[in-house]
Amino acid sequence: MDTALIAARALHFAAQISLAGCFAFVVLVARPVFDEAGGVVSNVLRRRLAIIAWASLILALLSSLPWLFLVARDMSGQPIYSLLSNGVLTTLLTKTRFGHGFLLRLALIVALVPFAATIGKHASRDRLAAILAALLLGATAWEGHAGAEEGIEGTIHLAADATHFIAAGFWLGALLPLAALLVETSQDTGRRGALIARSTAARFSMLGVLCVATLIITGAVNSWFLVGTIAGLVGTTYGQLLLVKLALFAVMLGLAAINRFVLLPRLATSDHGRKAVESRHAAASIARHAVLEACLGLAIIALVAALGTQFPAAHEQPWWPFRYRLGLDAVIADATLRKDAIGTAIIGGLGLLLLVYGWYRRRVIAIVTGMVLFLGLGWRPIQLLLLDATPTSYYASSEPYSVASILAGRAIYAANCIACHGESGQGDGPASASLAIAPADLTAHLFVHTEGDLFWFIGNGMDDGVMPPFRDVLAESQRWSLINFLKAHAARFEVDTIGAEVTEAPAPRAPDFSFTDSDGAATTLATALTQRAVLLVIGEAPSSPRLAQLEEWRSVLAESGVVLVISNDPDLQAVYESFDRRRARDGRPIEFLIDHDGNIRALARPGDTPDWSDLAVLTREIDTMARLKIARRSQAAHVHTIN
């Protein structure tokens, strides 16, 4: 962590928030309160607000310089002392988005200087200043993680982030001004002081509720974009910092709730006796709590400054701290379990309904029957969804599911795994007989485990060392390649045999590969699939009549949404041929239909039926494929590793 950068950011954010809070407090709380009380904003308050505003402005200006220099250093990789002479600052300020945002914020800060001097004097000037300060906060979101995304999602994230900043400023920043005003009123023993205290607290409470609601909603949106999953929240540095932030926020909310529900009602309008003393004490307590909240807010700002320099959780491998995880994997993989889960869920649910019905209608039989059904079966679906987890359950593969990776994995399997797990992968290798616990069958229910689980098993071994750990034998990328091979290998057993006819049956995913397209440009299957489905032809001799025929059909195929991919790559053939499980891998020509979502839907060798050498037959199969309702391809793909 870069402490200097975090400190500069934290001071700059705090200054902006305090500045915006001062003006928001004057416009939304102080002025209406004093108007109501029939007067102008008191001189004491104006002086105090002016001091806070001036201090914030100076701090904002001072902290912006180290921020600028540290960012210039990080972006250019040049040492700080060289930045003044080498033109990096000029390029940064004129050519980059950070630079443009920086100049805009600087202009807004300077523009706010004259308003700080007259804070509390003119309603219209204060309103204008509050708007400028809100713009300043909103502009700060522009430089963060949120500003760097594309499209409509990027816009939503940016809007949420900017709103989050503004709401934080209007609430957090207004806490010190609130304390200043309440301290002033608690020293006033007259009726007017009590009136002002009560009205101030009530108005601030409204402002607080609005801001807190906004913070929660926009914060949830931001976390969704930057953290994404609970695994990311509990298992990454970014997520854990965010949890600390949420905990501090919860304490602030607790204090705010005490102010609102305990102290606010004690603010009496009576100006004599015990009530008046109690009321002044309550005002002083609210002021103390506000200062405490402001301190917690400062800690939150420091965390925010640190979070902005971190890689967001969506980029880090999450370390899962629980023994179990909830997942549909087992239920989806096994039809019997699926029926079990759905059946017990329905009966257990009916039991619960019966129980509730019996409770309200006082029917003992209904209560007893409902309780028996609910308690007897209700736990079952939850048990089926509760899966064993490993710390790396939610790790994502760093190796794309590609031909190259699968072949690398196959070599690793042959060198390290085959002795026990066997050539077939079914746990029948030559060394398996001597083992106390039989090796796992790698062709069955492999998909019940996440890739991350397999990664853990390979790295750390299983069954108290009967399967040894390969942590020190295989690099991480090798373990992921091995998993890719196992996935490809198991896919052949998990799916029904694929033939020349397109069916809706579960289909294996097509491993990615690169090839040269008909224009001579290098491209990949994944890129081709973003446009249309693919007819992959492997192993045809360059002058074969079939190739000539297919070339002739190329435009017809394109019209029905299929791009023709021809390859003679032996690696490609080795991997793809294995999906034709029933027949020998003999290097004979073979063709595949791969749908838009990357599933292998059909394959054919010359002479198979239906006969793909008939264009009408082939286009019929393509049309069938286009009409299939296909589950969306998982986007969980791979986490980008940080080099």
């Binding site: 250019s76 993680h145 609970i230 179990y324």
Partner: protein, 127 residues
């Protein structure tokens, strides 16, 4: 009670973990043409790299060297005008061999990332 809390956490995580979210923030290599680790038979005239975020072209660059460490790019790395997540550089005519690509980019959120990968050019018809 403790179990109840962890079940509650798990239930919460369940709903969220069902929906995969694409990785976001900080520019990372998404894919490249020629692809990382790939072997191509036709020498590419240009290298294009897709990143996961918009780039600051002034602070981003890429270099391609051959097996002897000689620069084989034209030194004109630039971000795509229409899509600032793409960095491209023109290449000299590449003879068959292995090439190493080293990139360093700064995304518009000011964060710098770097990395490298290789690709190979194989003569057409060669095994």
């Amino acid at each position: 009670m403790k179990r109840l809390v962890s079940v509650a956490i798990l239930l919460g995580s369940f709903s969220l973990s069902l929906v995969p979210v694409p990785a976001r923030a900080h520019a990372h290599l998404d894919h490249a043409m020629p692809a990382a680790g790939s072997t191509v038979t036709q020498a590419p005239r240009e290298l294009r790299i897709w990143f996961t975020q918009k780039l600051e072209p002034s602070f981003s660059g890429v270099e391609v060297v051959d097996a002897k460490g000689q620069r084989v790019d034209q030194g004109d790395a630039k971000a795509d005008a229409a899509d600032p997540t793409i960095l491209s550089i023109a290449l000299k005519p590449l003879p068959p061999g292995d090439y190493k690509v080293t990139w360093h980019v700064v995304s518009v959120d000011t964060h710098a990332t770097q990395g490298d990968f290789t690709f190979s050019v194989k003569a057409q018809g060669a095994p």
